[in-house]
Symmetry: C2
Subunit: 415 residues, 2 copies
């Protein structure tokens, strides 16, 4: 039972480990292998072991650095493995993933494996910068403290010129949104150059601020190679912007950490495009919970975590758990503001609010620019829907005195 491929025993079942000195990973293991053996294969390959005994591994090293299987459930095939903190380099997410989410996903003997959760000691958590602003900082910047924040994704995803982009952003701001954002695949294309878009959109955001007396935020998508990304962030800063967006998964954690470490004083808006390549199969890959934890360590201020009710997959429970985590106390690392985004329209707001609550950014794309009267009225409708839920007025009742909302409901329904 305790025999393991490289000749060492990683089992530590029922025995305690110091939580302050270990990173604890929860895995689901899908394999024909007996669960204790399978757990040891995972523990070995993700720490100091390999498939055969080797002459270069001393007993002292094994004792000090080997991962320990502390739970292994035969029925659910869920295991917990404790990794001594000494295995990890502080403040290095790539290194962490190469340990606990690396080769183990490729082992022939284990066809399915899912990294469900990671628990970190404070010492490790505090080696990261975390968000510069965090959820409170974002609210403070916008001076909106109680209701959900309202975002508009510029649509079409690709195809607006920089002038159109800024113009529609202005209309959305005037209609009542707090934040306007580039879509995940818009960066610096010839039809909409980054520098021109940034300058013009910031200019019109300032205009909207003066005209409405409200604060406005623009999330510009700077996703690119890390050096270029930092240059673009500096450009946003210089142009008077306060926020940059990063596609955290397609960029990767090395680029994201470099950006945060550049300490540019920008709010970082985290889009999660591509996460589903690794999160969607419930028996394989890495959970969105783990990705959210890594994004918080790295320093994202706002993170897409699911809508439950829109076009994108994701259960209410998972989204809620993640949003709860993002707002919890976690070492010295600030809380993150969750973003609900994807297929939302005003009619879905009451349902969404019921599940997610007020501490969220609600993004509207098609459900705003698709309003029968266009972007300005679409933004009004979005604002009115949020107003309804925060004032506890039924949506259809509120629509009676709010024409933009009424028209949105006629097009897309309510609920």
């Amino acid at each position: 039972m305790s025999q393991i491929v490289d000749g060492y025993n990683y089992l530590h079942l029922g025995r305690s480990v110091k939580k302050s000195e270990h990173i604890i990973a929860t895995f689901f293991i899908g394999s024909q292998m007996e669960i204790n053996k399978a757990a040891q294969v995972v523990a070995g390959e993700s720490s100091i072991g390999t498939w055969t005994d080797i002459k270069t591994l001393s007993k002292a090293t094994f004792k000090k650095l080997s991962a320990k299987v502390i739970q292994a459930d035969r029925r659910t095939r869920i295991v917990k493995i404790a990794y001594p903190l000494a295995l990890f380099e502080p403040s290095n997410i790539a290194q962490l993933l190469s340990d606990v989410a690396g080769n183990i996903f490729s082992m022939k003997a284990i066809p399915n494996l899912r990294l469900i959760d990671l628990e970190f000691p404070d010492k490790y958590i505090n080696s990261f910068l975390g968000p510069a602003f965090g959820a409170d900082g974002v609210r403070h910047k916008l001076k909106v403290y109680k209701r959900p924040l309202i975002g508009a994704i510029m649509k079409p995803k690709l195809g607006l010129s920089w002038k159109q982009h800024a113009h529609f952003a202005y209309l959305a701001f005037k209609g009542g949104v707090d934040l306007v954002k580039d879509d995940e695949n818009l960066t610096d294309q010839t039809f909409n150059p980054f520098d021109k878009r940034v300058r013009e959109t910031v200019k019109l955001a300032r205009k909207a601020e003066q005209e409405t007396g409200q604060k406005k935020l623009c999330a510009f998508n700077i996703s690119a190679s890390a050096n270029e990304m930092i240059k673009r962030a500096e450009f946003v800063k210089k142009a008077g912007g306060h926020c940059a967006m990063v596609d955290i998964m397609t960029v990767g954690f090395s680029g994201l950490q470099a950006l945060r470490q550049a300490r540019l004083g920008l709010i970082l808006h985290g889009h999660r495009a591509m996460h589903s390549t690794m999160t969607r199969n419930p028996k394989h890959g890495i959970s969105m919970t783990v990705i959210a934890k890594l994004a918080r360590l790295a320093g994202i201020d706002q993170l897409h975590t699911g809508t439950v009710v829109g076009k994108m997959e994701g259960t209410a429970r998972e989204t809620n758990d993640i949003n709860k985590f993002l707002s919890c106390k976690w070492g010295r690392i600030k809380p993150v503001m969750p973003i609900a985004s994807g297929g939302l329209h005003p009619g879905l707001v009451p349902q969404l609010y019921k599940v997610i609550g007020p501490n969220v950014i609600i993004n509207f794309g098609g459900g705003l620019h698709g309003h029968p009267k266009g972007t300005y009225q679409g933004a009004q409708a979005a604002f009115q829907a949020v107003e309804a839920v925060t004032k506890r007025i039924p949506l259809k009742k509120h629509a009676k005195s709010n024409i933009a909302l009424a028209e949105a409901i006629i097009k897309w329904g309510a609920g």
Copy 2:
């Protein structure tokens, strides 16, 4: 049939597109949806569409920028989509992935999706730097032109001190290996600090070079945040090293491109730990073929692509196809040298050679340091096994006059 959620028709079946002006993606779509409709959902969400019609999208923009479904097979559910090149920013892998591998993986309507292949026009390919050395450059550096190159992964993965690390590297070099590499989870830990490891290992590699008259290469794992990674690469260079290793998937393409763009003149060794979180499910995620193409664009000189015969999953056909791609002519981008790594020992070399051929780096970890006599003899056995296949001598026959190989075969078998 041609109706699509956002009111636009992306179908272009049987019609031609200019290959020089489009990126062509091949997907498998697993969904209850009729295949043409499903293909249009993917084409829309990955280019300029969304789930509803919007007022901000003009007919001219749609015509110019919309993705086109050029093939859709009802039986295999494989589709080909052509994306106008104008959608993409040159030399930006994050942006490419946010287009063709982003939100589409999260759509409720499409539970399974796999990006099988990407074909690029030369104009796009040539916007990237590609490898600085490439396969030929690596061979030239080592002055080994015909046989497979032989690598030793330092084991245990974690736990050797910097002194031990350099010592065992020296023994492996003396025994006959060309390249010594850090394992994927070793970066800069307290028990083995990066700077000390680099200085000492380079020193002993030079010593081994003088004593053997052969060239030797050390791949130091610099995986970290992009800024730190570049600092480490500069350190390697300054210490007299010629090669750095990057965990391309846990680092991400933004960090990898930044590293290459720093033009430090180092050979880049690409480890693929974590790829299986997205490559392993044959019906979902992204294929290793696509990842290999992106790594070549980004500028990896040596890439892990599978062993077929070792501890890691991966079919012979896939590995062969990838290795073939890595060596083919591809715009102005140099060929990449594939690496076979994971669970290999001398007895597996003939089988591996038969499948993969001579243009490969064969890495040995446990199958070298686990030799009954230790690292030096383990390296000798690895070298002797490679010698046998290149001289076309049956392994067991060659073992008669090569004691290290004979002992390896006794421990692990042959074949």
